[in-house]
Symmetry: C2
Subunit: 459 residues, 2 copies
């Protein structure tokens, strides 16, 4: 519900209104999520375990469950000023097309060269690495947004970067690869013969197109075996959600300024970094009992970790080399069927988002991709922005909620996260435009079989 | 020179600060450019001649040389609010990398799905067509920005659109084609068998990849032979420059707000719509003797209409069906050698820009594409935005001017137009990243031969 009727199409904060701290929602959680476990000992991981892989400041943030506000260093705030504040948009044209009494707002994170919100955490990870005297980072990328984001951040802060790009993605999306190269990154299709792990996989599966799990293994192997090098991850982990809280904080400042109280907040959910970041400061209010909100996580029906997965300890990667995390998961062996939302094809879900969902603070729903692209097309034609397939999951749910408001004559305020643009996803749009898109839903048996393999780690 | 030292990274106007009128620089020109000529009679074209092809409001604007301000209808202003105001950016990071005392500003027009400034005129042309009861438009597109922009505008205002896309571009840039289709446009590779003109060309040149000139001919043929249909053009003509003046007006309002007086204003120049739009209100001050500015048009060395062309009457298209315009031209038969800045491969130049250049109000220079991509790479890595090859011509000149300031210790303020993003130009970036880019410069003989053919129309 809104008090103010004079809301512009786009609300931009001025630079001095931008958040100076990240919002650590874990500080507000009455019960924290279970700790990550070392896969060798099944004991909680230590700072030292993590520092072999990640840089120290990031590890400190990963383990900080108590400080609500964590200051954003000035150099990162200046980096943010190159592409932030992102606009909070009132979707007047979409509202009109839907003929709904609801007010629809979206926070648009796609107006930067990485094409998504990923740059918010890339900036932080590259900055801290430079601060700690590292000279290079490694990472993996599938759809390519994260690899692009970290390439941009490393170019800016003067770090070398090696990106292991899932081979099939690298072949399907040569243009993404080229953007990373333009920012000076070395892009290696994975599996590769440059790592032990890659060579082993190539030997076992000649001709494989690779997987995110394998690319993670290669990137971590290089990070831990190279002097002054660490690894950077683009989603799932708590420190990534922390960095992404800048999305939610900017949204909240902008909405507060205009007296708008969103009744429903919607985000697409793959690893959970966008959703977690968007909802953090709002969730804080809810957890402290100050104000109520409905939060909706939207995931693809083809990869339904929250809606059909189990809340168990699982590995972060298919290669089973990462720590175990307590999360909603389809099992790290689960191979999602083809879906064009590459960023939402992760088997698990952020521990923070999982815990909040488990404790009833978040709702979740899954949507099928043809209906997602219908929503994307409508959004593109009315609001002018061609959305990423991932982001379009949130659009689908926002449209559905706005149509419910129309049915019930309710003037609710809906906020959703528009995480990115679809310029590198035109193959998917072509399928849709040609009427050749199909929907895939995993069977219960598939999920049960994959989840069953986690039992040894969940006694 | 600047009085204010507290300038943010990005200056966004509020919606009520946005211009309510387009700026018609022709009103300030002491001597107007020569009129368009009907190619059949070699007499000045009439309103009636033009209304066969374009909608009436647009024809009126095309012929209006006297009103300095032309009101922007409210529906167009609301359309603009979906993606405007565009940011005026202070290039702090580029300045630092160049270690220059100069201040560099750029007006960034790439943050919309069409990827360039073209949407500013597409919105107007679609709006007027709808107002006049038309049901469809036709157009042509080469690089694809204009086709995308008009697709977006037609989707918004509810008009059918047929885009004749140069066949070779359609094959090289299938993703651009798909964006247009997502907005509901019918995209036909040109030459096609759907028009008389197309069939004639296919018969004469089987297997041809097409040209912009041929695509224009097909689009015009369909427009004049279809009920309630007209044709829309994306550059060159006076009404297009008029619509693009929103770029310059927003820039001027933003700079005035911070007390910044740009000493040098730089734009890339293909057909001239971006440059003309950017400089219009500043040029008005110069022409009225109120304030001085240096204006620099930057064109590719491979297609140097201003720097090496002749000031003559020429056709707008290769097919020689359009009116004749007095302009700097390489001759409508000139075929520019391969260059990745597809939007700058036009043989001629806007009559307004040509006249201002001819009368000494604008400077021009040409740059080679490898040096353009070097500038693009530096800009991407420092300012975070991956620029279009076209826009990078302006970046090259801005960097060169900033380096001159460094040499001379001058603290000049430089403004340039960053017309678009390079997301659909990664094939070009790959050539550059692989060290395989080459530079082409036409010989004097080539230009002379092509220009000589214009003599019958320039007695």
């Amino acid at each position: 519900m809104t008090k103010n009727t004079d809301i512009p199409y786009k609300i931009y904060l001025s630079e001095d209104e931008m958040p100076r701290s990240w919002y650590n929602v874990r500080a507000d959680m009455p019960v924290k999520h279970d700790p990550m476990l070392n896969p060798a000992t099944l004991e909680p991981v230590t700072k030292e375990d993590l520092e072999k892989v990640f840089c120290s400041a990031v590890v400190e943030q990963e383990l900080n469950q108590t400080d609500r506000y964590i200051e954003i260093p000035e150099d990162i705030r200046n980096f943010y000023k190159m592409y932030r504040p992102s606009p909070l948009v009132r979707a007047y044209c979409l509202e009109k097309a839907l003929d709904t009494p609801a007010e629809i707002y979206y926070k648009f994170e796609g107006n930067n060269t990485s094409g998504s919100h990923k740059l918010n955490s890339a900036a932080a990870q590259a900055y801290y690495a430079k601060q700690e005297g590292l000279t290079s980072l490694t990472t993996e990328t599938g759809a390519g947004q994260w690899g692009t984001a970290l390439s941009m951040a490393c170019a800016f802060f003067g770090l070398d970067l090696t990106v292991f790009m899932v081979k099939v993605s690298s072949e399907q999306k040569p243009h993404r690869r080229e953007v990373m190269r333009t920012y000076g990154a070395k892009v290696i299709p994975s599996p590769s013969d440059t790592t032990e792990c890659g060579r082993a996989i190539l030997k076992a599966h000649p001709g494989t197109g690779g997987s995110l799990g394998c690319a993670i293994s290669e990137a971590v192997e290089v990070a831990v075996s190279t002097p002054n090098c660490r690894y950077g991850l683009g989603s799932v982990l708590d420190h990534v959600l922390l960095h992404q809280s800048v999305i939610g904080s900017e949204s909240k400042i902008a909405l507060d300024k205009y007296g708008v109280h969103p009744d429903i907040i919607i985000g697409c959910a793959g690893g959970g970094s966008n959703l977690g970041g968007l909802i953090s400061p709002f969730m804080g209010e809810k957890l402290r009992g100050e104000r109520d909100y409905r939060f909706i996580a939207v995931e693809p029906a083809s990869c339904p970790s929250l809606t059909r997965g189990k809340y168990l300890y699982d590995f972060g990667d298919t290669g089973k080399i990462t720590p175990l995390m307590k999360m909603y998961t389809l099992g790290c062996d689960f191979i999602p069927s083809a879906n064009h939302a590459g960023g939402l094809r992760y088997h698990g879900m952020s521990a923070v988002v999982s815990k909040l969902y488990h404790d009833g603070y978040i709702e979740a729903r899954s949507v099928e991709q043809t209906s997602v692209f219908k929503a994307a097309e409508m959004f593109a034609r009315t609001e002018g922005i061609l959305p990423a397939p991932e982001s379009s999951h949130a659009i689908r749910a926002a449209i559905d909620e706005a149509l419910k408001c129309k049915e019930n004559g309710e003037k609710k305020a809906i906020l959703f996260g528009l995480t990115g643009t679809g310029y590198f996803d035109m193959t998917a749009y072509k399928k849709f435009n040609d009427g050749e898109m199909s929907d895939y839903i995993p069977t219960d048996e598939e999920i049960e079989k994959s989840v069953a393999q986690l039992m040894p780690y969940n006694k």
